[in-house]
Symmetry: C2
Subunit: 446 residues, 2 copies
Amino acid sequence: MSEVKKMDEKIPTRVLPGFMELLPAEQIVFDRIKNTIAEVYQRYGFAPLDTPVIERAEVLLAKAGGETEKQIYQFTKGDNELALRFDLTVPLARYVSEHVNDLVFPFRRSHIAKVYRGERSQKGRYREFYQADIDIIGDGSLSLMNDAEIPSVIYDVFSKLNIGAFVIRISNRKLIGGLLESLETGNMSVGVIQTIDKLEKIGQNEVHGILVELGVPDNTIREIFTFTDIKGTPEDVLNALRNLCIENELFQTGIKELEEVTHYLKVLGVPPDCYAIDLTIARGLDYYTGTVYETILREHSELGSICSGGRYDNLAEKYTKRKLPGVGISIGLTRLFSQLKDIGLIELGAATPTKALVVPLVADMAIPLEIATTLREAGIAAEVYFEDVKMKNKLAYANKLGIPFVILVGEDEIASGEFAVKNMETGEQVLLTKADIPAHIKSAIM
Amino acid sequence: MSEVKKMDEKIPTRVLPGFMELLPAEQIVFDRIKNTIAEVYQRYGFAPLDTPVIERAEVLLAKAGGETEKQIYQFTKGDNELALRFDLTVPLARYVSEHVNDLVFPFRRSHIAKVYRGERSQKGRYREFYQADIDIIGDGSLSLMNDAEIPSVIYDVFSKLNIGAFVIRISNRKLIGGLLESLETGNMSVGVIQTIDKLEKIGQNEVHGILVELGVPDNTIREIFTFTDIKGTPEDVLNALRNLCIENELFQTGIKELEEVTHYLKVLGVPPDCYAIDLTIARGLDYYTGTVYETILREHSELGSICSGGRYDNLAEKYTKRKLPGVGISIGLTRLFSQLKDIGLIELGAATPTKALVVPLVADMAIPLEIATTLREAGIAAEVYFEDVKMKNKLAYANKLGIPFVILVGEDEIASGEFAVKNMETGEQVLLTKADIPAHIKSAIM
């Protein structure tokens, strides 16, 4: 008896916590977003790349550290210490180092793929998630113009995604770096920058408290807040920065770079309400050395940045002696999708790519198949409903999946050569010959 | 001194053995193949799915076994025993079981993604590889017409991939099953079927030897070879099968199913030289219960099957009590690509999606950026060459990447409003206004 019970026991099929799994209608929207991003990336000349999900552990550990290192999925297979990539930047660094002699620089690559972080499971945090990255890597040097063009890629992506008004926030790490240099904060700088990065999240009072704890002198904190308080149009901000009269080379370079980047944004046609200089963004990582970007949805700034990145001086120092400066951005696609779903910005449509369902009312499938073939040849996704069920259930199949057109094929239709093509949304039904069906459906769905 | 040396040591960047990593020009061809398959799958109404790469180990182990089990990448994270999927069918079984109440049946899904097998490393075997699968899953039952339509999907895929003549080999597991039943081979059947599956690879003599070793009686072996020797057109083979006069229900059902499948292949317009009944194929796995498919390249049968699959009675018995019959196929994309490359069937083109490179001969990037924006808005992938290098090097960049058009923007061009658009292949150069450039390039590349 217990034997029988055991055989009947089924293995749990729930997806692991922290992993996203979508139903078909959701997946179709997700893929549409992913494809839109991929298309924009390609239009700017970024070559699509694909690297292994599994890397040597030492490759990943060289660039990880702190929290990230704890999150890495590591394991042994045979003699190899392996790990799953936790971002797409470290694999890029390895790839460029490995293939440096086969690549043409500046190297523009896009990569849209899954990465893995064994984080503590919590809402909105994923252990497997898509990142959609672009980077431009120079050999030895890289023009600042690349920094200027990146926001126009961001603008194109989010305009096409049509998820509401957004603002690309831009700053330059040389400004805060130069300011702290001029204030002689010395080795506190990293801590100070990471604290400033929290300004929007925790507010000025809390940031003040942390800076005091870090041992930052009162007058220095005042200077920092004078700097982060600067707001206004790009012109206003740039003027205010100049008026600070900070005689530090790094700081002055920061102003010049920011000026050039925002100047060309205008040239590139990014509307003024879609970008802003925001001196509070610093991008926590000490990895960035120049321009930095964040992107927020105007009506949903609580989501935080949905697209971030910046300029870095050296991509791959752990792997190669070549100096490879770069600039890039990353969209956390899985998280973005989940957030958009939560705030009701994901509108679900059909649960299938099928645009036309051929419903046979006869046993011989020859004519139904011919109609489906004609549709497919015309580029219209089509299927034949083969199962032997009641008419009602065949139409229910089309309705549940959201298939927009149904074509009925009965004895009468075959005899007359004209088939009833039903628009499932409007209920409108027309009689058409096989040859006329594709054009009719195409005009409605495209 | 040793400290300095250590700091200079670089981490090895070579990709792990058994993992494929492509250069941009190869990746572009790979992606084109992948996208062609995806498009055909969608045109037949298969909804694209995406499931986690990481599954609970128990989910995968329930369906693995033997060799496969040893190959699974397994590891522990926190309290969880995890594993990387080794195919896309087991995740499908779990997915359908989990979401059975949210899906509409027959459920048609496509899935093109990476799977993992820690195989012994050898040429042509990958540890990470793409599979491109479709399956149609019925709830309780599933019409045989689905089996009939699958080869037309295969035909569409390989016609569009344009990699030479191919043959879809079709058989039905009920035939060999019924034959062995009628010959009362009893529990030797699985071994016998697996042996027959090797006929093409090792020849009749060796198969004979193994069958003798398995203890199959001589007259039974003769009957088996009489069966597997049947060749000819589908009509010939079906007639010969009927003429064997084997009074076994399973066998007779096999004939009827094969007859219907091949009948509808004709209706679907699959040319006669693109398919054949081949009674030697059995698909090793005891998983298949009816129609089975293999696909070979006519000129390169040494590659083995490049697309295989079949009908199964019950997808997910380990996970659910629902009976879920299905039929599907799988293309081992990574292996196929690697093989096509080896035999010279992969023709490399550009190493970038960029169709037009704007080359500024001036410092102000305003006009070059405007031209690039105009091109992108017209759907043409474009980039501006921003780096400050010699003219020769700018053109070398276009040449090395295989960018078909270069647009020169100098003082004279800006003054006259006409820009030199150079076809990099023909060397032809024309002067065009900004507005006329997109149409000129479009007509050449599309």
